[in-house]
Point group: C2
Chain length 230, copies 2
Amino acid sequence: MDTQKIKIAVDAIVFGYRNNCLYVLLIKQKYGPLKNTWVLPGGFVKSDEALSDAVKRELKEEAGIEVNYLEQLYTFGDDIHRDPRFRVVSVAYFALADPAKFDLRADTDAEDAQWFPLSDIPKLGYDHASIIQVAHQRLKSKLSYQPIGFDLLEKEFLFSELENLYCTILESDIDRRNFRKKILSFGIVDETAKMSAQSAGRPGKLFRFNKKKYNALERNGFHFEINLRK
Amino acid sequence: MDTQKIKIAVDAIVFGYRNNCLYVLLIKQKYGPLKNTWVLPGGFVKSDEALSDAVKRELKEEAGIEVNYLEQLYTFGDDIHRDPRFRVVSVAYFALADPAKFDLRADTDAEDAQWFPLSDIPKLGYDHASIIQVAHQRLKSKLSYQPIGFDLLEKEFLFSELENLYCTILESDIDRRNFRKKILSFGIVDETAKMSAQSAGRPGKLFRFNKKKYNALERNGFHFEINLRK
DNA sequence: TCAAAAGTGTTGAGTTTACACCCATGC
DNA sequence: GCATGGGTGTAAACTCAACACTTTTGA
């Protein structure tokens, strides 16, 4: 075969959630043709490095963050000119970070790193805006059939926070009673003894996602599902 | 950045279904370190070629086949030594072919091309056996929430064929009445005037998947779903 | 005592499951 | 006339959706 002139990159779409608002992590490029442009964290894969290690490395180098949840999203390689310099195929990863990870430090490899509300993303370089669309779609659909919402919340959370997360991300209303009944019926969240240090209103119990129970149930054919009507 | 020494390949897992049996398309390598070994069809991506075009090209070159359905499956690039020669990242595609496509001609680039029952796959090169596992999983889960079963059948089919396809692939029993009721209730299959040229028993009506209706419904929030109990 | 958020059951509608017999054809 | 596969309805069980008032706390 002739010499292949294609480079492989990884990119990460990291979602965070705070104050009823969904955020995406972006970095401002320090070098290259898009210096000072906001883009998704990511970069080229080293020749002896696993793809998933490359993403984790870039996230650390560019934003000083470690994520809760990471899965491959899609490989973007049909548009030959998505990078103006040369052919780049990018393996995009979908990631979730909880509020404890909201502190960023733009590290060696980025000029800046910041969370942007999904509804207010600046103009991005490359095809990153459309990659975010794909990731957002994935987030919405996964939320209804996998318990990934918990990875966007603190370890201990109020039911109302979980409710709001679902409402916000799925842009949908919830019947609080039915929602609570449903989630509790799964038996995958444990009630803690603690109460929230509330700001207003009656204090609420704090809950905690029990991943072990979930995994056990899943092995027995249990299927998590939250359907919210439009 | 240093010079990256990674090659990009595509591989295709093409499923076919005939006589209550699920098949996978394999080719026997003509060149290279695994000459005469069975592997998935696939090969290196050209520098100016879209990934999806590369798969289609390889399928034509190696097996003379055009598929009904093609989607990206997963990118295998965590195992650095999955190819013994050098680092290869492979973007795997999931494909479906209907019985009309069962005739293959091993073309220029393969020594041989054949359908193998999924239950009787020979020893494969590289990590292709595990790629097939991932694809098989995808097939099983997609079958229950997307109408892809139709892409494995002839254009006009008997209800019993659809039933058997679901039973076989999902390894599950079906209540024929309930299954028919469900599928018909969606309004996405049309009854034709024709009857099957049967081998034995009462002749059955032939049906046809109405993709236009399905797409229209989907845009209005319709959600295909077939759940078979274990 | 008021504002704010947490907590809590019941009923009707709709969906899903279970189940068995007759029909049309070729041999 | 028999073997083979095609075609069909109903009732019970279950799941989902709709709905509103009381409780606890801080200010």
